[in-house]
Symmetry: C2
Subunit: 560 residues, 2 copies
């Protein structure tokens, strides 16, 4: 191995992935598109054999693959951690039927296409080939979908929540089906009895390892931070789980995903956030591009002939038609309005990185030949690239604004005689706020308490597909604190509402939000960001209360 | 390559490095000792060929080496970034003579030993062998030294500062000498004209690249955070610089170190802190253990015979004698008291990871054979392990306490008629404090303002050798804010002192520090941690001022 070539490769791969990722962003596409293209550009299709052999000599490929595999383990762990059943809560029926329908239809159609292709491509193992092909048709990229939603501020709308719930369910469905398919493909060989351990292993992870991992939460809270020992423990467990599934002839991605899925959720928001922070940035920036390149190096479109173009057309038709049709029909049957059903279908059609991971598993396990692999990668690119434009068409920006305004109006709530609005600065420090809120809301007539909390976007947002997890984790932690406070105030006569969302500029957005709620009393600390503007906007008809001093202050009082 | 073995290797290496690192800590040694031993344990000395071939098959070694190399690039970058000429400032003369003497003496003695060993070990290239051997004798591990100092709270003493300054100078000396040696060794081959580019390259890095990198600071400040693009830029530049020096037949570690050294310092404390935070944890936890194992796999002590033991004894005598003697004599000549000179010598004798990196370069470049390499690794272990016990002997804990108490007394300062003590909670938010301090210090007689700031230890401390950098970076950022405030208050008649240090428990330590300064007025916000205790400790003879309200408050007033 020549170290200088390895270092040069890292430079070239990082730079090209970054450049094309930024380029994709410029034309309104998710960066992952550019990064996948970077992998293909560095493969045989464009570079040809001469430069390819110089830049990626045969003896270096295992090293690149090793780096890519480590990146993939970290990535799949993050995907598993981002799974959150809270996303599905309250939307279960609609989400379940849309997910099932939009997975089963492309799966079924994919299997039919595979039967047609089997003669040329099944390499003598028809059943695994057909099942794998069907599974590969039915994937949805949760990370890309989440990024598109947040980019358009749609994750605050009802539709965005529904789309996230569907994607989360499809994620579990797709990885489970794929694991089964790979296991079936694995039993083709001889002496591979280990595959029988896959189901017991999953059970042990959920029933045995999950409770053990939960003990990390008190350890983390006691230390007050993610100690190197805790992080080392997670890493060791993660790679051990990945190794175990690989040893069972399934594939290491399932072990990595599973370990992410059994990480503690309840009360572990901060812990998970810190872990993700550490892993995402280096894994995504440094190691994942290696995976794109290793995946791209197997894509060879130079041999594509007219017959291949025909197969590609069929694949695209089935992949897109199956997903869009399955999702749309199921959503309409569940009484989702037409426009929103169409938007949901458009979102769920995005394949992104998830598809590339699935395809490279197929290539590695020998169920997919290079030609079909190349065509399927093109399918992944096309379905991912079409999501943005299609969504803009069926669900334009003004529709998003209308939905957001509606959500805002809903937040204003019904008319009451006295509405006490409490601006919560830090949901972890609410001492005394419950008492003050109840004091202020005392008396006759209809009363209501509204807890308002605007949270700055976490600084650690990533642009590379992942990253919603951090926001979801923070928001979950925030809501827990606010709900505790709400529970402490709420009585039968005194309803409490919680209004909380992320904000790019708390000081600028708070006054509008407060004024929109039409409060009679505002409880706000003089140190709260935006409090001066809130005071000015409130006017003299509103009483302002300083929670530290527990006394009313003049709206026009001096700013400290 | 079998992926399952790679994953298993990662699990075994991580777990063993972590376990032995923790074990080292238990017996009062730096964890790096345990991690180096973990590498040796997994090598041929203990495992033998049978398990070794199973666990680390030949086709997997390049992959492990690739992971180790990436880890080493990140590590050397961190080492380069931790270089800080501020450490040397004000201690230049003493530090320079101690460093020079404690580098030159072991270097010279090492060259003599090498001449003696040359016949058996120089592999036909005497000059590079002799120079390399000398250079390998004279290293000091800055990271290990820094960790020992902070563990003993000694980095706040004069001695600790001096030791850090010496280690910083030795670092630069050792890497420069080593680069020259490797370059000389490189010219032995044919057609390696690129080696001539090494010096121009270093000049371009300092004169051309450094100003370019400085532009990252405004970009960072504008974004308010380390964007993925900025981090990607740093990573691309880092690996490009590492590749360039490797291509010049020097070694990639110099390019990585150099890139760390030319990173912007002025005003870039926060930026660097964020970069280090990202790189350290994963690089140190996940990739560096791979380097330990790759380094350890070349250590073979099974063939050690009586002659070898004799050579080891000579190596140990020269390495320890040269370092201790060189440092002690030079320090005494510079009038450093005997006990402190001895402590300084003991500290500088620690070789740690730095030595292992140097040795693996020698092995890779063919100037060191496996036998000498193994013996030198043992020397690195012995010198690192002896530092703690030796230091405890010549400079016991009660001496450290005495030094700290002296530093505390120096902080109390001279007698004045009116001392205004301002407790600064957040050095970035000091609006109005300057005015209040000047108001309170107005009047006749001698006056003084003391700015006190206790900072909690940053949460991100690492235990694995590195990690001081984060504290130094934070402290530097803190001091900049405090000094700005001091400059705004200071006049010819009104001196201002700044007292700032890290604290494990701000609320507990603040009252003592405040009382020790014997102030007449304390300016402290009611929200400051520990303010209740400060109020109680202050007593009625001290006037307390609330900076938000700009009015005196009763010392015994209600706590809000």
């Amino acid at each position: 191995m020549r170290v200088d070539i390895l270092l040069l490769d890292i430079v070239v791969v990082l730079a090209l992935a970054r450049l094309l990722g930024m380029g994709a962003r410029l034309i309104g596409q998710p960066p992952v598109i550019g990064e996948i293209v970077a992998g293909i550009v560095l493969g045989p299709t464009l570079l040809g054999d001469v430069i390819g052999q110089q830049l990626f000599p045969a003896d270096l490929r295992p090293v690149l693959k090793g780096l890519a595999d480590v990146g993939l383990v970290l990535f799949m762990f993050v995907v598993g951690m981002e799974l959150d059943q809270k996303l599905v809560r309250g939307r279960g029926r609609v989400a379940a039927s849309v997910s099932l329908s939009s997975t089963l239809l492309p799966f079924g159609l994919g299997c039919l296409v595979a039967l047609w292709l089997a003669a040329d491509h099944d390499q003598g193992r028809t059943l695994p080939f057909v099942l794998f092909f069907g599974a590969a048709m039915s994937a949805t990229a949760f990370p890309v979908l989440a990024r598109i939603l947040t980019d358009r501020q749609m994750h605050r709308t009802r539709l965005g929540g529904l789309a996230l719930a569907c994607a989360a369910i499809i994620d579990v469905l797709a990885w489970t089906v794929l694991a089964v398919v790979v296991a079936i493909a694995g039993t083709g060989g001889s002496g591979q009895w280990q595959v029988a351990l896959a189901v017991p292993f999953a059970l042990v992870m959920f029933l045995g390892v999950r409770p053990l991992l939960r003990r990390m939460v008190p350890a983390y809270e006691k230390a007050g931070r993610l100690t190197p020992n805790l992080l080392a423990l997670v890493l060791i467990g993660l790679f051990a789980s990945a190794w175990a599934t690989e040893w069972m002839h399934v594939h290491f991605i399932f072990g990595a995903f599973l370990f992410g899925a059994v990480m503690p959720r309840e009360g572990a928001e901060k812990l998970n956030h810190e872990i993700l922070e550490r892993l995402e940035q280096l894994a995504v920036l440094l190691l994942l591009p290696m995976f794109f390149v290793v995946a791209g190096m197997s894509v060879d479109l130079t041999t594509l002939d007219l017959g291949g173009v025909g197969v590609l057309a069929v694949i695209l038709a089935v992949a897109i038609g199956g997903k869009l049709g399955g999702a749309y029909v199921a959503a309409r049957l569940q009484r989702v309005p037409g426009r929103q059903a169409a938007a949901l279908a458009a979102l769920i059609n995005t394949r992104g990185l998830t598809e590339i991971v699935i395809l490279s598993v197929g290539l590695e396990k020998g169920v997919l030949d290079t030609e079909l692999y190349s065509l399927m990668v093109v399918m992944a690119l096309v379905t991912t690239a079409m999501t943005g434009p299609l969504l803009s068409r069926v669900y334009p920006a003004r529709q998003v604004e209308r939905d957001l305004a509606e959500a805002q109006r809903a937040a204003a709530g019904p008319r009451v005689d006295r509405r006490v609005l409490v601006v919560v600065e830090d949901p972890d420090e609410v001492e005394g706020l419950a008492e003050i809120a109840r004091e202020q809301a005392a008396g006759d007539g209809s009363r209501e308490v509204v807890l308002v909390h605007l949270r700055p976007y976490p600084a650690e947002r990533l642009e590379v597909g992942l990253g919603l997890s951090a926001e979801l984790a923070e928001m979950a932690g925030t809501m827990a604190g606010l709900e505790r406070l709400a529970a402490a105030i709420r009585t039968e006569e005194l309803p409490v509402r919680v209004v909380s969302r992320f904000s790019a500029d708390v000081a600028a957005e708070l006054p509008g939000l407060v004024a929109g709620a039409e409060p009679h009393v505002i409880v706000i600390a003089p140190t709260a960001p935006g409090q001066a503007a809130v005071r000015r906007a409130a006017g003299r008809r509103v009483t302002l209360v300083d929670p530290a001093e527990r006394r009313a202050v003049q709206p026009a009082g001096k700013d400290t």
